[in-house]
Subunit: 405 residues, 2 copies
């Protein structure tokens, strides 16, 4: 029998009524003749409430004990969902991370899944049961409870789908799928029927957070087809799969934007091997994540290097950059935290040199100045002034989607 | 190093401040040079809230899933207490039932502990850590989560103390120890310094519920000394241990009363072998617990048999008794649910024939009519009218305690 893995997030199981709604969805799939494995997150704001509780006892609790605490959130969800499914007259069994055989490394609060031993789940499916698994959690070889970090339930679902060789992994959420732009910014974004893993990765990491990037990477690696869809209606959502499987390529799949950006520039950096390493190693040592890195054409044996970080990392990054600038003899450091990044993403653009020009044209037509540009095979990103970001997204969406039809 | 097991109930960990208070108590014991294992229950009303949550999803949830749900209550407590102990600068580790090696049978919601594998706890104690264990829960051989039923945390603590060969098992509660009578009834009851396992069993099962009877049986079987004391002050509480170890015997240790009593009588029961079996087997088959059973002197080849049940079982018991009365040819059935049971308990009374007479005298002096009498080696119980129960307890307390001094 074909297996389907269905993942429901915290908002989908926040109340008893919603849990019953999820139970009905699960049972519908079972009725269609599939074996169903359901992955659920903690209900509503449970995780935040547990974190507050921890805070009230200890400002910096040991991470092992934090995992012990947080793992209860999903355990409550699986028990309640199993009860609701049982109430509809179906055989069902719930599993915690360790019962489901989800083994992780020992990195408490941000553990990575090492392997899944699905024997027990397969046995229960064979016995005709629906299996409900706690997302977000696993167990180490020593039976220590671990959690996978925020959004880890997506990763749990994909890992289970891979281990169970599921036909598809359905990710239920509160939107209908993946859109060509943020619906809060663009009036009528288009829902994408298909998107490739790579495009989804670029869209997700650029702020369209319907799917955890880690889960998408996992899905790409194990070639697990995903289906992102709404838990509140029966519409087809967006399928995420290998680009080669898609019937037609789009030039551009979506417009992403990110307002949590600050840019830092180092001027007149000497052109010697190892200079870039020295700068970015120093930042990595402080656990500062650097996003775009741009090094311009060398003039007179000296370069300008600029890069972006998240705004909350800016004040951690600046003293590091000042220190390194001194060490290497750069002439100065500047920063600006009133910038934003807009990007177009599309698997088709690699073979289509006109896309970048079309993007720059759309921005120019609106009088938007481009401060930095960075490109990859499936993405072009521009840093612009923050107060022009919304206008830029709308202009790009009009250019690539509203004129196409 | 000597091991002490300390058990704290739900009211002792209900708030963050109380959890910090428990942490300080635990650390004090560690500072005295003991290895400490702490057992905690779910905070405050957590278990009731989880039961309500289950009810809102399914009126009759599967017991396996109920255990999955309820076990989270204690898991939250152990994580928070471990954080609070860590905050005081001590090494600590928390364990769920399965991590602590508490193996039970498969009777979900009322599982019995089969064995404890304390290797992991001993290893952590040896490493200098305080170990915090979730009460009330265990795991089957198949890694299924079970719970031990209400008050199961006491049993967890005693089982751990037995497996770890602990010097003592301290049961922290919101009263100072075991008293000679219910403080809500008698103005100045005396706190007992020592009480035997048997006396504690009689006192506990008669309504003085500071300790779960199962935990006391367990402690008696494995000869684990108990110390019932308050978590809110440093007073010595009541030690529960083998009677032979006590320095002096008291004639009477306590006065217990139970208002949740109904009596049922069968008249003119034929005097044949197997008749009693027929009556009480029929009640047992309906899971009705019978307490006192009294069969009077045979007259003319026929007996009267009377017994007591809890009031909530009365309406389940009556049709069963009517049916059996018909089958065996008894002349009639009567019942009364406005009765109460008062008892005196004391290991010393077995060698002292005057105790029963003194009890009956005290009741007679108050004009209280005795409806049934039942005696064991350490207990004499009388069924009387419900509205005279309080007066009876006060009279008996005056007789056996207030006149002794």
């Amino acid at each position: 029998m074909q297996i389907i893995v269905q993942k429901f997030g915290g908002t989908s199981v926040a109340t008893s009524e919603l849990i019953k709604n999820v139970a009905r969805r699960v049972v519908q799939t079972k009725e269609k003749g599939y074996d169903v494995v359901v992955v659920v997150s903690a209900r509503g704001h449970t995780t935040d409430e547990l974190l507050e509780l921890a805070e009230s006892v200890s400002p910096h609790p040991p991470e092992r004990e934090l995992d012990m605490l947080l793992a209860t959130g999903e355990q409550v969800s699986i028990a309640l969902l199993a009860m609701a499914i049982h109430e509809l007259g179906y055989q069902v069994v719930s599993f915690t991370g360790y019962q489901a055989g989800i083994y992780t490394d020992k990195a408490h609060t941000k553990a990575r899944i090492l392997r899944v031993e699905p024997d027990r789940i397969l046995r229960e499916l064979k016995a005709g049961k629906i299996v409900v698994v706690a997302g977000f959690q696993g167990v180490t070889e020593d039976l220590e409870i671990t959690t996978l970090g925020r959004g880890g339930s997506d990763t749990t679902a994909v890992a289970l789908a891979a281990a169970l060789k599921a036909q598809i992994c359905e990710i239920y959420t509160d939107v209908d799928g993946v859109y060509t732009a943020d619906p809060r910014v663009v009036e009528k974004p288009l829902k994408l029927d298909f998107v490739s893993y790579e495009e989804m990765l670029e869209l997700a990491s650029l702020g369209a957070l319907v799917l955890q990037p880690r889960a998408v990477e996992f899905a790409k690696h194990y070639q697990v087809p995903l289906h992102v869809r709404s838990s509140f209606n029966q519409h087809e959502g967006t399928r995420v799969e290998e680009a080669t499987k898609m019937e037609e390529y789009r030039l551009v799949s979506g417009i992403a934007h990110d307002l949590n950006v600050a840019k830092i520039g180092l001027f007149n950096v000497p052109d010697r091997p190892g200079i870039a390493k020295q700068i970015f190693k120093a930042l990595a040592d402080e656990h500062i994540n650097v996003d775009m890195i741009i090094q311009s054409w060398m003039r007179d044996g000296r370069n300008d290097i600029s890069f972006t970080v998240t705004r909350n990392d800016l004040h951690k990054a600046l003293p590091v950059v000042e220190r390194v600038a001194n060490e290497i003899g750069a002439s100065g450091v500047a920063y600006n935290d009133r910038v934003a990044k807009v990007s177009i993403v599309g698997a088709g653009m690699v073979t289509n040199p006109g896309v970048a020009a079309a993007m720059f044209e759309a921005l120019a037509d609106e009088g938007i100045n481009i401060e930095m540009i960075s490109t990859s095979e499936i993405k072009i990103s521009c840093v612009i002034a923050e107060d022009q970001a919304i206008k830029a997204v709308r202009a790009l969406h009009a250019k690539f989607f509203e004129q196409q039809s």
